[in-house]
Amino acid sequence: MEVIYNLFFYLISFVLIISALGVVFMPRIVYSAVSLILAFISVAGIFVMLNADFLAITQIIVYAVGITIILIFAIMLTGKISEKKLWIAFAPRTLFAFAISGAFFVTILFAITDGFKLVARESNIFSATLPSLETIETLQTEGTTGIIGKALFTKYVLPFEVLSLLLIAAMLGAIVMTKKSGDNLINHTTKTIEED
């Protein structure tokens, strides 16, 4: 079981790294976007291996579908960008990029070499919030989606309903901003004038 688990982990990680490199090095920006879909799906696979099935399905629905659609629309709607190669230009901003990604790399290195665990143990920040062994066991046997669903419709009903208001606000904002204001109004007045 352990061997199969590791095999799948390395397989998914390999696909993830290759597709992430593809995003950077593909000759056309559209190919990069397609490569990005594969990278997102691989991350969903890693979430599945970590027993986080709700995160995995969210990763697929939101990132691999929603975000990518918006990205590809952005490429389609801006005229000449799709033919451009993504050259890495040596400008001052490149140094900034190197500094930020270097800092991120050091942070990840710190995390995977158990640096955070040492910090947490010394400062006792996380000791109270760690889940009990029982919780971890139920998560491993049932998966997280059912538990999240139960919580969402019993304890967190109000935030769930408020969320729909947030979504409708976003929807109305999208309609108002993409439709020209008064577009509808002008049509109606001209119609009534024509009818008269």
Binding site: M49, I61, T141, G149, M171, A174, T178
Partner: protein, 119 residues
């Protein structure tokens, strides 16, 4: 262990990859090869293709992308409800219907504003 339930998903992915690969490889093996300049041309409804294939699309499409994204997020939040539907009962059904109803109000607004109409 619940992770073993993903076995069928892995089998499904592997089968679909194998099926696509087999279709491509088999057709490559058995196809008669007679390439020509006209044959390798891009097909465009019987017309001679002109211009570039990647053109700038109209900004009107963006509204559809945004509306899609909103209902996409709605699907994310209805997914856990669908998974634990049997355990939740009537109250959760009413809650989910209210959730969908509020979002349908947005769709009705879009309809009324002629945002879905192609102009």
């Amino acid at each position: 262990m619940y992770i073993s339930g993903y076995g069928i998903l892995i089998a499904f992915i592997m089968f679909s990859f194998a099926f696509a690969a087999a279709a491509l490889i088999l057709s490559f093996i058995v196809q008669p090869k007679a390439p020509g300049k006209l044959k390798e041309n891009t097909y465009e409804c019987g017309m001679k293709p002109f211009g570039d294939s990647r053109i700038q699309f109209d900004i009107k499409y963006y509204l559809y992308a945004l509306l899609f994204l909103i209902f996409d997020i709605e699907a994310v939040f209805l997914f856990p409800w669908a998974v634990s539907y049997n355990k939740l009962g009537l109250f959760a059904l009413v809650e989910a219907l209210i959730f969908i109803g509020i979002l349908i109000l947005g769709l009705v607004y879009a309809w009324k504003k002629d945002a879905l109409k192609w102009q």
